[in-house]
């Protein structure tokens, strides 16, 4: 099958799942009567937001590399805006913050656009890391210096560097698979976000035992095991759209589901520390964009390097 046909089938499949979810959400709301509970209202908001997000990603795919890079560059921008809002930066950090938005972010995505692996894989961890500390030191304000500069560096790593590994799949040269790399992004997003959704569903239906009560009240063992196992099976079933064999696809799906889970855990720890429940309000029902992307952020670089090391030329 050509990449276009596979993409069409994938879109139809995802749309089918959303149609079923929408029907279930509407039936639950009908049954609950005039005043549905908060969980049902939130469920329907989430489903509605999923339609928008799936539409955006599918739309970006139609524009190919440029569309995907622009979409994720904007996602990085919005994520960074949320992340840095919660940081204790001071007046002296203004230039460092501006450099992150106006230089580091566009340069990173430009390097991916020109497919310069040697530089985009070290630009932020090496050059960004060192120069941000220099800019902050020149600013001269030493109050809580390490804490402030770490926050900005962390935000850049999480929101820009890690997230930019999603469009970076387009730069991989995979023998017998070239021209189809967009499908790897679809695989990553479907498996990891599917795992999030299935963890939520299993957790709501069967959840009893909390995994990390001090970090997140909503994460349960039942949700974790059910969600990760079923999403890994979905990944295995999708092997045909990847360069992987069925078992490899299943294993990679398992790895990225677990990374996604830990991503959610780490980002929850940060939110707890800063005393907020959500990162922002950008996505109705979900919270901020970081609440939705935390799992993808942790999964993307790992899957990227697995694919690059074992499958690319």
């Amino acid at each position: 099958m050509s990449a276009q046909t596979e993409f069409l089938w994938l879109s139809l499949g995802v749309a089918g799942v959303l149609v079923v979810a929408t029907l279930i959400g509407q039936i639950l709301a009908k049954r609950a009567g005039p005043e549905p509970g908060a969980v049902i209202v939130n469920l329907n908001q989430r489903i509605h937001a999923w339609w928008v997000m799936v539409g955006l990603i599918a739309g970006a795919f139609l524009f190919g590399k440029a569309g995907v890079i622009l979409l994720f560059a904007f996602a990085s921008f919005a994520a960074l805006r949320e992340f840095l809002t919660l940081t204790p930066t001071r007046l002296g950090d203004h230039w460092a913050l501006l450099a992150v938005f106006l230089l580091a972010l566009p340069i990173q995505y430009y390097l991916i656009w020109i497919e310069w692996y040697g530089l985009y894989s070290i630009f932020i961890p090496v050059y960004g890391f060192l120069s941000l500390s220099i800019i902050a030191a020149i600013g001269g304000d030493t109050t809580r210096f390490l804490e402030r500069i770490s926050f900005v560096q962390w935000g850049l790593m999480i929101c820009v560097f890690c997230l930019s590994h999603v469009p970076a799949f387009l730069t991989l040269d995979i023998p017998g698979y070239n021209g189809k790399q967009l499908l790897l992004i679809a695989f990553l997003v479907i498996v990891v976000q599917g795992s999030d959704v299935l963890q939520y569903v299993f957790g709501k239906l069967l959840g009893r035992h909390k995994v990390a009560p001090s970090l997140s009240p909503s994460k349960t063992w039942e949700g974790l095991i059910g969600g990760v196992a079923s999403a890994s099976l979905i990944g295995m079933a999708l092997w045909k759209i990847t360069p992987f064999a069925p078992l490899q696809a299943g294993l990679i799906a398992l790895v990225i589901c677990l990374m996604g889970f830990f991503g959610g855990l780490v980002m929850s720890a940060i939110k707890r520390d800063r005393g907020v429940k959500d990162w922002g309000h950008m996505i109705e029902g979900h919270g901020g964009i970081l609440d939705r992307l935390d799992s993808v952020i942790f999964a993307a670089p790992i899957m990227f390097h697995i694919t690059r090391y074992w499958f690319s030329a």
């Binding site: 921008f77 919005a78 960074l80 805006r81 949320e82 840095l84 809002t85 930066t89 007046l91 203004h94 913050l97 501006l98 938005f101 106006l102 922002g280 309000h281 950008m282």
Partner: protein, 220 residues
């Protein structure tokens, strides 16, 4: 009160610029309104807010429903927003600011009379009772007397406290390039001058009403 569509070139440019300003404010701050103590209303009101940045009235304006923007006018200093050039065009034509003199000119109507006239025309006002931008570390400066005189002359007009959060980090003093960070605008419960209430008591009450909206100040 919907304004009539004005098709003069200057008015069209002003509308386009207004759209750009609102779009830019949203891009940089993703600003979100929280109508905590009241709902949007077309009746004449005075929105009184904390003032830490030149962008403050833009943010309030951005979160107002489109229909209310045309009738909500910021109160601005003539020496900064008057004159000629781009800033004056934005002040006069885009935001339709009520320009007042910081030092009243005895030959002109008194600033409080100017504001009263605008309210009687049905406009709402965006007013900064601290009198100047707060660039100190304090959360809110003491209020000047203007808000009291305004409500004494216009007792029927609701005064809505509005807390603007985080904009001072987006555009700190001395910087003109904004850093994108989330901001919020919180509208509190309207207040009015009580019978027999003196100037100091009223200003203290108004200041408290505004402070309770600030994050970390334990909203009731």
């Amino acid at each position: 009160m919907a304004a009539k569509a004005n098709l003069a070139p200057k008015a069209i440019v002003a509308r386009v610029v207004a759209g750009l300003v609102v779009g830019f404010a949203r891009l940089v701050t993703a600003v979100r309104p929280e109508w905590r103590g009241c709902l949007p209303s077309p009746s004449a009101r005075v929105y009184f807010a904390n003032h830490a940045s030149h962008g403050d009235f833009v943010l309030i304006w951005t979160v107002l429903p489109q229909a209310l923007r045309t009738t909500t006018r910021p109160v601005a200093a003539r020496d900064y927003w008057g004159g000629t050039g781009l800033r004056a065009f934005i002040g006069r034509n885009v935001f339709n600011a009520v320009l007042i003199d910081r030092v009243p000119d005895p030959r002109q109507p008194h600033p409080i009379e100017q504001l009263g006239a605008a309210l009687k025309e049905g406009s709402s006002l965006i007013f900064f009772p601290e009198g100047t931008r707060n660039t100190t570390g304090d959360i809110l400066l003491p209020f000047k007397g203007g808000l009291y005189h305004l409500t004494r002359d216009n007792p029927d007009v609701e005064l809505v406290p509005v807390w603007i959060d985080n904009l001072s980090r987006v555009m700190p003093k001395g910087h003109f390039l904004p850093v994108p960070l989330l901001c919020s605008v919180t509208f509190g419960t309207p207040i009015r001058l009580a019978a027999e209430e003196g100037k100091d008591a009223f200003l203290a009450r108004a200041r408290t009403a505004l402070l309770t909206l600030a994050p970390g100040e334990n909203p009731p």
